[in-house]
């Protein structure tokens, strides 16, 4: 039996004539932080909704060993998610939210939530609609982090937040929540923001999976070379995945070439995930 937290094969979803997901195969192992990266409308949210049992799909998908659409409430006993900062019920008071989740989720630890929540800033009697976006995010994160879950799914969780809150959000996630027994899947189109915390990446575009890899393997598989002007033609002959200009010099991205082989053309480095994403998406669009 597979130990994977999420497995999908041929995962597809149509909205009328639009193919939101188009035959995706993937496997996510425990203890990983996976970035689901794609443009707006690439299919990220649809993929996450399918994983969380919020939408029907074609193909096969198992989350924590069960079909999430057929048995959503079973999945949600061991998984939790933050869709975005706007979904907490605005009419609820903070104290009511804590009480409600405590009564509704067997894995919720009220004491932990209270410890995580700065009640001096966010009062238990405050209505959620009176809180700022940043406070709502802090509240939602405190509630989620107090749930003993094997899988946490975050869909653009810091959308609309300022830099300070975004940093606090990911710091808290990494320092106070993540351990090797948990898996986190984060969807975003702002790759730079999360690339330092990821262990794996999934690139998605037009409903198709362009890349599925660990961040470690990316460094072995892809290299970027700042090609010296007089070596451009030779370097291009090796078939770079993508080319771009940087301060008047060509940066070429290669797949499956060794560092010594490429070092002859100029300075080599592991590409940033954002650059790799742009290269793959542009390549996919060609």
């Amino acid at each position: 039996m597979s130990s994977a937290v999420i497995t999908a094969s041929g995962l597809s979803k149509r909205y009328g004539p639009v193919r939101a997901l188009d035959g995706i195969d993937l496997s996510v192992e425990p203890g990983r932080i996976v970035g689901l990266i794609g443009r707006n409308g690439a299919g990220k949210t649809t993929a996450l909704k399918a994983m969380l049992g919020l939408t029907s799909f074609e193909g096969r998908l198992e989350v924590l060993g069960v079909d999430p659409f057929r048995r959503r409430h079973e999945v949600m006993k061991r998984a939790c998610f933050i869709a975005d900062v706007a979904v907490l019920p605005r009419w609820m008071k903070v104290g009511q939210l804590i009480e409600y989740v405590a009564a509704s989720h067997p894995g919720f630890n009220r004491d932990k939530a209270m410890a995580l929540l700065d009640t001096k800033i966010i009062g238990l009697r405050s209505r959620i609609k009176t809180l700022s976006k940043g406070m709502v995010t802090q509240l939602h994160l405190a509630v989620i982090m107090a749930i003993d879950a094997a899988l946490l799914v975050l869909d653009e969780p810091t959308l609309g937040l300022d830099l300070l809150y975004r940093k606090q959000f990911y710091d808290a996630l990494l320092n106070d929540y993540f351990d090797e027994s948990r898996t986190i899947v984060i969807s975003t189109h702002q790759v730079e923001e999360i690339e330092h915390i990821l262990t794996d990446v999934l690139f998605i575009d037009n409903g198709r999976l362009l890349l599925s890899s660990s961040v470690e393997a990316l460094g072995e598989r892809y290299l970027e070379v700042l090609v010296a002007k007089h070596r451009e033609v030779e370097a291009r002959a090796l078939g770079p995945v993508a080319e771009r200009e940087s301060f008047g010099q060509k940066l070429m991205l290669f797949e499956g070439r060794s560092r010594p082989e490429l070092a002859a053309f100029g300075e080599t480095r592991v590409p940033r995930i954002a650059d790799l994403f742009v290269a793959k998406v542009a390549g996919g669009a060609r």
Binding site: K49, L52, G53, L54, T55, S56, R72, H73, E74, M76, K77, C80, F81, I82, A83, A86, V87, L88, P89, R90, W91, M92, K93, Q96, E99, Y100, V101, A103, S104, H105, P106
Partner: protein
């Protein structure tokens, strides 16, 4: 069970009108009763005492019955309006403000959620209204009774009036379950113009009438609505319209029969009515539709 109770509590948090309306109505009625009891022009029960046709005890019992019975609709009519409004919106607001994504992030099934909403409407709200009615009836009989020589203080009649109200509410909720569950399904279905969708049967009736001159749906619904009173209740009291109906009425009614509120109820007639069971089957269908819509609809 703990999770189900949490859903009921959530409904009361989200819709405080469910418990506030009986409190407000009760307060208004009690203030009114207090005014009647203290104002020299307010309470005019003397006409009963002056009537020689009926004995004092019967007259007292009759007036007590009328007051207690008439208090029930004061509570129940607004409660019915509150319940209808609640059902029409309970599955729509969570979609509109996207909080459905939060609620679905918890291990609560769609069946549990929908049944909790139905339980809130058909059980919790009526229980709260009945509790309000009971307390108010007690208050009214004490307040008015204290000011008119024990006129309304009749514990056995109070108990009977409350039992009649409880029975009528339960019967009403069961009989009209198709309507309630239709509103619930509309709430799960309609993206906007919920009220218009709720009125869609009326539109069907209008179209039917304009095309064929009569409407089978209209006749069906009309017969169902009127059927409740003849099936669930025995008619004991009819109040003629007029400024002061009591004297004319007293001479005509069978006091013993009218004041025996237990005899108003006809639970056997209700439970053996095929219409009731057919309606409940339709209600189950609408509820299943609401569950399926909440589960399969993907517009979050």
């Amino acid at each position: 069970m703990k999770a189900f109770l949490a859903q009921l509590r959530r409904e009361l948090w989200e819709h405080p009108v469910l418990y506030l309306s009986p409190i407000v109505i009760g307060a208004i009625v009690l203030v009114w009763a207090l005014w009647l009891a203290t104002s020299p022009d307010g309470l005019e029960l003397a006409f009963v005492i002056e009537d020689d046709d009926i004995g004092f005890a019967d007259r007292t019992r009759l007036v007590t019955t009328i007051v207690l019975v008439l208090l029930a609709p004061l509570f129940m009519l607004p409660t019915v309006a509150v319940i209808a409004s609640y059902l029409l919106n309970c599955l729509g607001t969570e979609r509109r403000d996207r909080s459905i994504l939060f609620f679905k992030s918890l291990p609560i099934s769609d069946v549990t959620t929908v049944l909790a909403k139905l339980t809130t409407a058909l059980l919790l709200a009526p229980i709260l209204a009945l509790a309000g009615l009971l307390i108010t009836e007690l208050g009214v009989t004490v307040v008015v009774g204290a000011s008119s020589a024990g006129m309304l203080w009749d514990p056995s009649q109070l108990l009977a009036a409350w039992a009649l109200a409880a029975y009528t509410v339960i019967a009403f909720m069961l009989w009209h379950a198709p309507t309630w569950c239709f509103l619930l399904a509309v709430s799960a279905w309609a993206r906007r113009a919920t009220l218009l969708w709720a009125c869609s049967p009326l539109l069907v009736i209008l179209v039917e009438r304009s095309l064929t001159g009569r409407s089978s749906l209209g006749r069906l619904l009309s017969a169902h609505w009127q059927g409740f009173w003849s099936t669930a209740l025995e008619h004991r009291l009819s109040i003629p319209l007029g400024q002061n109906p009591f004297p004319e009425m007293l001479g005509e009614v069978d006091v013993a029969s009218t004041t025996n509120l237990w005899s108003w109820m006809d639970p056997v007639g209700l439970l053996t009515s095929p219409t009731l069971w057919a309606g409940l089957a339709v209600a189950v269908g609408f509820t299943a539709a609401a569950v399926a819509l909440r589960r399969y609809r993907d517009d979050s």
